[in-house]
């Protein structure tokens, strides 16, 4: 555990931000990444995202703070993260991807770093802008998101040793896989519910008749 959270690993996460292609390659082949750090980064991203919407300045922020729920957003972000990792893993397994589930999780988690940084800088910066300077705020957030998406793309590409075209295709298929997973989970849930209610009604019959 200590090794997974070591200073070196943290430094390497930031090295990945500045050198995405190199960084992700070494994560796959030289074990330089850390899954706990990746998960922590996803959690941090979710919190920064919520905080941005709650406390960015009134001038640039049209969200009703009453509608933001930090905890439920955290749960849904983590769930989405899990779904994407599993979906991508199951697709790339069939498409000659070299990455392990661990590598995909790290690739996605490390891509959160620019978004976390820009979200928080944007939140603070928003309190300094007037309405006609709001474009700067939008630009800061935009750069963060764009660089994050770019890192995700490079991450998936390097980890699986894909070409760009194949990466885009697998990402599209990943979303299909996510829908299939959700569909199956709902189906199974409904089925279990029906089986349960069947046995429950038998139990009730027995109770009332005896």
């Amino acid at each position: 555990m200590k090794q997974l959270f070591s200073k070196e690993k943290w430094k390497y996460a930031f090295y990945t931000v500045s050198h995405p292609a190199d960084g992700y390659y070494e994560i796959r082949h030289r074990e330089r990444g850390s899954v706990p750090i990746a998960i922590l980064l996803v959690i941090l991203f979710s919190i920064s995202f919520s905080i941005n919407r709650i406390s960015a300045s009134f001038i640039v922020n049209d969200v009703d703070p009453m509608t933001v729920n930090l905890l439920s957003e955290l749960v849904s972000v983590l769930l989405l993260y899990l779904l994407f990792c599993v979906g991508n893993w199951s697709i790339t397994c069939l498409m000659n991807g070299e990455g392990r589930l661990k590598d995909i999780a790290i690739a996605l988690g490390y891509a959160m770093i620019p978004m976390i940084i820009c979200m928080n800088i944007g939140t603070i910066f928003s309190h300094a802008v007037a309405a006609d300077e709001g474009a700067f705020y939008v630009m800061i957030i935009g750069i963060g998101i764009a660089y994050g998406v770019f890192m995700m793309l490079i991450g998936v590409m390097e980890v699986h040793n894909y070409t760009l075209g194949k990466t885009l295709l697998t990402i599209f298929l990943t979303f299909v896989a996510i829908f299939i997973i959700i569909f199956v989970v709902l189906l199974v849930g409904d089925l279990i519910n029906q089986v349960y209610s069947f046995f429950y009604s038998i139990y009730q019959e027995l109770i009332f008749r005896s």
């Binding site: 009134f58 001038i59 009703d64 300094a128 007037a130 309405a131 006609d132």
Partner: protein
């Protein structure tokens, strides 16, 4: 001794309790008690377009029927009008007469059922609309006789406007005037049944000049696409895209025409038409002057408001009357909703078929065709304060308005208009910090941004010394650090060199 002390204590307790009860009774305002007995809620929409209940702005103040003023009951009256001298003219459509009430609405001044037209007696046939001009001439939209009759207030014949001739009118055009109004130049504006092209305008001598204020039909791209695909037969069967008709009409001090219409989208149910017939109405933050914003999806009570009449009151304030839910919407000149009240029902102060609205001395009066009655609503302190504050802002007297708004806030702490009003006044006064506070409460992003910009400049100017000092010190420190590092490295290199 213990007993007497106890008694004394009890006495004190009792007195205190009695005093407390008395203060509580005194503190409960009379209005709050009344508000619970009202047959309707007074409400408004906030910035996030949520429904917010506010204190009552207007309370029912009795009703006036034909019997109560000493004549036979009104039968489906469709319109009424307050004359410049304060008398009220009711178009009693079902009884084919015009009833004139005194200012207090407790007795009939006169009834006009017949008039002498160049020696022959003439009567009305379903007089639908009525209006008294500034020059004290009575205009009656005599619908089934297809004419507009102009009389003196006493009922003497002046002229008749009928049978408009123009090539822009259809050959089988039928002139059935429903509502009529007159501006300061005695131009006549008439809403005519099935005239979808707009309001008909006549010169003072009765010549038809043309249509006015046509409502444009908007066809969405999707509808256009379907019409493209449809065959000729299908197209002929599908519904026609015709604009809605105007329903009510009023004229303001500057000669601008306020005309209401039923908007199926619920976005804009009133137009303020300039002399060219162009719509110059101002819309508020939400861009909506169409009555209710939140409407249900199912049932009789659902759907957008159906505005049947409009009244221009004073200082840019105008009210709309909704037939669907019996609500009265009041807007200021900038298109902000001030308050909404009223409802459909059978209690006093509710409507069944409201058809016309007028205002008289701080009262709003509504004519109900089903009950044949005029419902009166008098303003409460809350309503009065809002009207006065808006009026002061209309006159440009923002500093005086601030006191009124403060009092509004005492009655309704979340009133966004009041907060914005105070914020704007502070902004003009140069108190940017306070202005920001109130403008944020009032959810006014535009003015908040202006206040913040000024406040930011203030802060920068005030703290320039400190900021510049910090920056200079940081730069010096940085330079020193760099030099120090260079020196250290140089030494290390020297050492290495020495080793080698």
């Amino acid at each position: 001794m213990g007993g007497s002390a106890m008694k004394k204590k009890n006495l004190i307790k009792r007195t205190a309790a009695a005093l407390l009860a008395a203060t509580v009774l005194l503190l409960v305002p009379a209005e709050a008690v009344q508000a619970e007995e009202l047959p309707y809620d007074t409400y408004n929409y906030n910035y996030r377009q949520e429904f917010v209940i506010t204190p009552a702005a207007y309370v029912p103040n009795g009703s006036v029927t034909g019997l109560s003023v000493g004549t036979t009951d009104f039968k489906e009256p469709q319109d009424f009008c307050v004359a410049p001298d304060g008398l009220i003219y009711v178009a009693d459509t079902g009884n084919n007469r015009i009833v004139v009430l005194n200012h207090e609405m407790n007795e009939v001044v006169r009834e006009i059922a017949t008039f002498d037209r160049n020696g022959t007696a003439d009567t009305f046939n379903a007089p639908y609309g009525v209006c008294v001009s500034e020059n004290m001439e009575l205009y009656i939209a005599d619908s089934n006789n297809r004419r507009i009759v102009v009389l003196t207030p006493e009922g003497e014949f002046i002229k008749i406007v009928d049978n408009p001739q123009s090539e822009i009118l259809d050959d089988n055009f039928e002139f059935i005037p429903l509502k009529v109004t007159v501006d300061y130049a005695d131009r006549i504006y008439a809403i005519v049944k099935n005239a979808f092209e707009g309001i008909l305008v006549f010169e003072s001598n009765g010549d038809f000049t043309g249509y006015f204020g046509t409502i444009e039909v908007s066809i969405s791209l999707w509808e256009k696409f379907w019409r493209r695909l449809a065959s000729k037969e299908e197209r002929s069967k599908s519904q026609l895209y015709i604009p809605t008709e105007f329903t009510g009409i009023d004229v303001d001090d500057g000669g601008f025409i306020y005309a209401s219409n039923i908007d199926p989208d619920g976005k804009q149910a009133v137009r303020r038409l300039n002399p060219q017939g162009k719509d110059v109405i101002q819309k508020g933050e939400n861009g909506n002057v169409g009555g209710d914003i939140l409407t249900g999806m199912y049932g009789d009570y659902s759907g957008p408001s159906q505005i049947t009449d409009v009244v221009y009151r004073d200082k840019g304030i105008y009210s709309l009357l909704d037939r669907r839910r019996g609500r009265i919407f009041t807007y200021d000149k900038e298109g902000n909703l001030l308050y909404i009240f009223g409802g459909v029902g059978s209690q006093e102060g509710t409507f069944n078929v409201p058809v016309a609205i007028e205002s008289i001395d701080g009262e709003i009066i509504v004519l109900d065709a089903y009950y044949g009655a005029i419902m009166r609503f008098s303003e409460t302190r809350y309503g009065k304060l809002i009207n006065e504050a808006v009026g002061l802002r209309f006159d440009g007297d923002e500093t005086e308005a601030i006191e009124k708004w403060q009092e509004v806030l005492r009655l309704d702490a979340n009133n966004e208009l009041a907060n914005t009003g105070i914020g704007k006044a502070y902004l003009t006064a140069g108190n940017n910090r306070l202005a920001m506070e109130y403008l944020e409460l009032g959810m006014n992003r535009k003015y908040y941004s202006i206040a913040w910009k000024r406040y930011r400049n203030e802060l920068l100017a005030k703290n320039m010394n400190i900021i510049m000092t910090v920056v200079v010190v940081l730069i010096i420190l940085w330079v020193v650090y760099k030099k120090w590092r260079k020196k250290k490295r140089g030494k290390a290199v020297e050492k290495e060199g020495g080793l080698l």
